[in-house]
Every structure is written in structure tokens, then in C-alpha cells.
């Protein structure tokens, strides 16, 4: 996978790095005392985590009645948050797996952090269906284990059970993929450390030596895992969309859901990657590895997936009208004009209209614009799930049971709490692991470093016959 990158591409690593400076720059932050900015961020994150623990305890102690769900609207913020977090996770796998198969070298700058984000986001997502069960201690009932009640098996025909398998497989495979990539880098940290630190990193680096045969197997393994993760990531959000699409609720029962959910997932995931990367590169001073070129590339993905999502919204409306089926027509009329019209406006504004700004190269390469856009998109994608879930349920077949739902403080705290959980995990990850894949960055130095390619090429490196192929 080493054809030199196209001449029109900009360098992916700036600052004329050598192999050693790469190690220093990326492993350095794990070895220094945390900065004040990190400590403040960590205190805020842990406060969020405490709020999470409190609201989960409250929910379990008092019961699901502490939420504002009712007979008509029986899915609210919980499932909205679940779908939102799972969606966010998708960008990590897209960057690490699909872009690996497509041989997009810019992925190496961001893949490690994006994969970490995937794992933490899926952990946050997994909380909601579990808490939503109400009796958390019976959560193991969702797995088909031999039991004394027959054995009575779970319903393998149910999309909710498919989801159990999809999410747990997704989490496991992402974790293995991520950790296997981390092992050589943990070895780098190990070989720089002394004393207890060395013992700890020696334990987690699994005895990595950097032998040629191990590298060969490692690359083969990464490639096959990427090949498996690619259909997996598409299947996960497809199955999440089946939770809705296989029901007979107008507004949910549509065949467009799987592709539309997957595009939306990638869209929101990239937005979250941008939010995190812009902060990470600033705090850890990694601007030479996560360059404007990376941000530009990700903004292009955001523009493409945002437009796919926009087309999907319009297609839904058109098909609802074209179907001639009054329940379907009403469901969509209600979505746009009904009691939750404000969330539809939020969704359309944040997801479809605002990303169009990225047609301009200047905007794509502006850190400030990108940062605010990434927040907008995350809000917009949250609204999308809320629109699909709450506005559809609020007006069912029977007007006498129509209802309105707004969350209780417990539900709001649960959501804020998962943000705390996510941030805590990410901040810890920033401290203990190299946030950029050190070995992979070294592997692209000679094809992506600014002393070898791009306008600042050094003459002693020019026209050098490369043995890479």
C-alpha cells in the first residue's frame, strides 16, 4: 500500500520530522505531568461521570417511572441517545477500516483517536438499552444461555435481539482492532520508560519486539480485521435502523432507513472526530500530524454524507406523498408541522443546510468554522433521532392516545452524564496512550512528510530512488 501519494496532495506530516522526533512528539505527552488544561477538563469530565452514576442509581432505585415516558411515547431520550452514540462510533471504524482498504494515507494521523472514540461512544450507547430495561440485574436475559425455564430461548427473529449481537460484536471487534494497533506503540512507550512505568507498559505491550515476521503477521491481521470491520460497521447501523424499519409504525416502516442511518452515522461520527481532533491537536501540540489537510479531508466526508442525509430526508417526504397512503402522509406532515416542528427545523438546519458551507475550501480549512460546524452537526444528528422517535410516537393511530413528551431531569442528567463518561474515558486515553499511531506515521513519513513531498521538498530528498513499493 505504498504507491507515492499524488503530487497534488499536500504533505501529511509537516515540520521535517525524523523517526525520532515523531516518537518524541507523540509519546512525550504521556510522559509529562498533565497540563492545567487537562486537569481542568478532567475535573469537569469526572463531575459529569458522577452525575451519570447518580442518575443511573436514581433510575434503578426509583424505577423507569422517574422518566417522563408514557403509554404512547415509550421511547424518548434514552433510545435517541443510544442511536446518537452508536452513530458517533461509526466514524472511527470508517477511518480505521474502510479508509485502510481504500488506501487513504491521511487516516494514519487520526485513526488511533477516532477508534478510541468509537469504543468509548459504543460504551456510552450500550448503557441506554441496559438502563431502559428497568431491572438492570436481569440484563443477562438478552443472551441465549441454557436456562432452567425450558430452556426458553430469546427471539432470534427480533431486530432488538439482532441489535444485541450487532452492538456487542461491534464493540469487541473495534476493541481488538484498536488494541492490536496499540501494541507496537505501547512497546515504544515501554522502551522509553523506566521503573514502574516500564513494568506497566511492558505488561500491556504483550512482549512486542518488532520482529519482521511479527510485523508481517500484524499487517496481515490488520488488513483482514479491516475487511471484516467494513461490512460490520455497515451492518451495525443497518440493524439499529431495523429496530424502527421492521415495525409497522408509519414514519418508521421505510426501506430507506438502513442507508440513511449509515450515512447519518458516518456524518455525525466525523463531526465528533473533528470536535475531538481540533482540541487534541491543540492541547497536545500535534498540529504537524493532524494537519489542515486532514481537517479538510474530513470536512469533505462531512459534506458528502450530510448531503446524502439531506437527500434521504427529502426522499422520505416525497415517498410519503407519492405513496398515497394517508397514515404515512400524516406521519410526515406531523414531523414537519406537528408539535415537534422545532426539532425538525433543528435537524434540517444543522444537518442539511449548514454543512453546505463546506463547498468553500476556505471554510473547510478554517479551524474555527470546522469546530462550530462539528458541534452543530452533533446537535442536528441528535435532533434527527429525536424527530424519528418522539414525533412519530406522539401521534399514533388513535387520536385519543396522542401525547406529548418532554424529558424529566433524570433523563437530561443521564444524557449529560454519558458525555461525562465519554470525556473521562477520552481524557484518560490521551494521558496513557499515544493518540496518533506512531508506527503507522513512521511508515508514511517518506511518502507523506513535507521534506519528501509538497512545495517545501528538500533537494537532497528529491529524485531519490525509493525502495518502497
Amino acid at each position: 500500500m505504498s504507491a507515492p501519494i499524488s503530487a497534488i496532495r499536500e504533505p501529511l506530516i509537516t515540520g521535517s520530522k525524523t523517526y525520532h522526533t515523531i516518537t518524541e512528539d507523540i509519546c512525550g505527552p504521556t510522559e509529562r505531568t498533565p497540563t492545567t488544561a487537562w486537569v481542568i477538563a478532567f475535573i469537569v469530565a469526572v463531575t459529569g461521570l458522577a452525575l451519570y452514576v447518580f442518575s443511573v442509581t436514581w433510575t434503578i432505585w426509583v424505577g423507569i417511572g422517574s422518566w417522563n415516558l408514557n403509554r404512547t411515547i415509550n421511547w424518548g431520550w434514552d433510545i435517541t441517545n443510544f442511536v446518537w452514540w452508536v452513530g458517533i462510533g461509526h466514524a472511527g471504524t470508517l477511518i480505521s477500516a474502510i479508509l485502510l482498504l481504500f488506501r487513504q494515507k491521511w487516516r494514519t494521523g487520526v485513526n488511533r483517536a477516532a477508534e478510541a472514540m468509537t469504543i468509548f461512544a459504543v460504551m456510552c450507547a450500550g448503557q441506554f438499552p441496559l438502563i431502559h430495561m428497568g431491572r438492570l440485574w436481569l440484563g443477562f436475559f438478552i443472551f441465549p444461555y441454557p436456562n432452567t425455564r425450558g430452556p426458553l430461548w430469546v427471539n432470534f427473529n427480533s431486530p432488538l435481539l439482532w441489535d444485541v449481537f450487532a452492538i456487542s460484536t461491534y464493540f469487541t471487534v473495534s476493541l481488538l482492532f484498536w488494541y492490536t494497533g496499540l501494541v507496537p506503540d505501547f512497546a515504544t512507550v515501554r522502551d522509553r520508560a523506566k521503573g514502574l512505568r516500564r513494568k506497566i507498559y511492558s505488561y500491556v505491550s504483550f512482549g512486542w519486539t518488532g520482529s519482521a515476521k511479527h510485523w508481517q503477521r500484524w499487517e496481515a491481521l490488520s488488513l483482514v480485521l479491516a475487511g471484516l470491520a467494513t461490512p460490520l460497521v455497515l451492518s451495525v447501523h443497518t440493524i439499529v435502523s431495523f429496530d424502527f424499519a421492521t415495525s409497522v409504525i408509519p414514519g418508521w416502516h421505510t426501506t430507506i432507513f438502513p442507508p440513511y442511518f449509515v450515512a447519518g452515522a458516518i456524518f455525525s461520527g466525523f463531526a465528533m472526530v473533528q470536535t475531538l481532533m481540533i482540541m487534541t491537536r491543540k492541547v497536545l501540540k500535534l498540529e504537524d500530524y493532524i494537519t489542515l489537510e486532514h481537517i479538510d479531508s474530513m470536512n469533505k466526508v462531512i459534506l458528502a454524507t450530510g448531503s446524502i442525509v439531506g437527500v434521504a430526508y427529502l426522499t422520505e417526504l416525497f415517498i410519503a406523498w407519492y405513496s398515497g397512503y394517508i397514515y404515512e402522509q400524516f406521519a410526515f406532515y406531523n414531523r414537519v408541522m406537528g408539535p415537534y416542528f422545532w426539532s425538525y427545523i433543528g435537524m434540517m438546519g444543522c444537518n442539511v443546510i449548514s454543512p453546505q458551507i463546506f463547498w468553500s475550501k476556505k471554510m473547510r480549512r478554517s479551524i474555527l468554522v470546522t469546530f462550530f460546524m462539528s458541534i452543530f452537526i452533533n446537535i442536528g444528528m441528535w435532533f434527527e433521532r429525536f424527530v424519528i422517535i418522539a414525533s412519530t410516537l406522539a401521534r399514533d393511530y388513535l387520536p385519543s392516545s396522542w401525547s406529548y413528551y418532554s424529558p424529566s431531569w433524570v433523563e437530561v442528567c443521564l444524557f449529560i452524564g454519558t458525555l461525562g463518561l465519554f470525556s473521562t474515558l477520552y481524557l484518560v486515553f490521551m494521558r496513557v496512550a499515544p493518540v496518533v499511531a506512531v508506527a503507522e506515521i513512521k511508515g508514511i513519513l517518506k511518502t507523506g512528510g513535507d521534506q519528501y513531498v509538497g512545495p517545501n521538498i528538500k533537494h537532497d530528498n528529491a529524485h531519490k530512488e525509493s525502495t518502497q513499493h
Binding site: Y19, W153, N157, T209, A212, Q216, L221, L232, G443
Partner: protein, 176 residues
Amino acid sequence: MKQESTQVLYGLYNDEEVLLHAVKKAKEDHLDIMDVYSPFPVHGLDNILGLTESRIHIAGFIYGLIGCLSAFLFMTWVFTRDWPIIFGGKPYFSALAFIPITFEVTVLFASVGMVVTFYTICGMGPGVDNPTLDDRITDDKFCIAFDVDNADESKQAALRQFLTDTGAEEVNVKSI
């Protein structure tokens, strides 16, 4: 993971291209390289070293097949033999509905199996502490190692000469 320690003569190179030329030269001179270590995968190295292609993907396929069959057959057994239930008027054997779980379990088995296989055949795992030659190999040095346990003085001198001639910045002996 060797039981007894081995005397290793190794040279450290600064650049992967110099390393590749050195490995090529060693192969031409019919020197018996014990191993080559690098901070990142060096492309083309496995061909020059004559390493056979990794068969880990074959193992992955077999694990995937096991996962696929066990998931599908298990669900079939549950719904046709063990506890048949009619869901929504569909047949007991509703194969289409089994596809998502079959797929997920296939991927799960293949991935977990391959990762476990990878660490096992590489002699790696949590807490395993394989001896390393030099701390800089995971940073910016590329290393060619020769096993000199049974080599006499002149053989060792020849290997040292080879390493320096091909551009090694440092040549050392270490027992691992």
C-alpha cells in the same frame, strides 16, 4: 521465548532503505540472519528475507465458517426442534431472519479467533516479557541480528565487518 540465552550479534541502521540493501546483501552472501527488527513494518522486507506469506487469513476464514455454521444451525435447532414458536405467522424455519445474527457471529468468531491466533503464534500476550536487543528499535533504529552462539572468533569478525560495511551505525553483542 527461548529457554536458554543466545549470543546475538546485531547491527543498528538508521534508515530502512539502508537496511533493505543490507538484508539483500546478506542474502546474496548466504548469511544466516536470525531476525530483523524495525520500528514500523518495512515494505518489501518480507520478500527479501524470504518470509512466506502469513496464513492468518486462512485461519480467519475457518473461524468465520465455524461461527457462521454454529449460529445458523443453533437458531435453526432452537426454532424447529427445541422450542418451536410461531412469530407473526412466519414459518418455524425463517432463514432470512437468521441472517443478521449469523453475520455478526461470523465476524465475531473470525476476529476473536484471528487475534488470539496472532498473539499465540507470535509468542505474545498480557504480561509476556520477550527480551529485546535495544530500546531504540521501537523508536528509530533498524536492526539485523545474527545468532553467534556457535560462531568462532573469525566468523564473528566477518559478521561485524559485514554489518559495518553495509552501513550499520552500531554493532553490539548481547545475550538474550
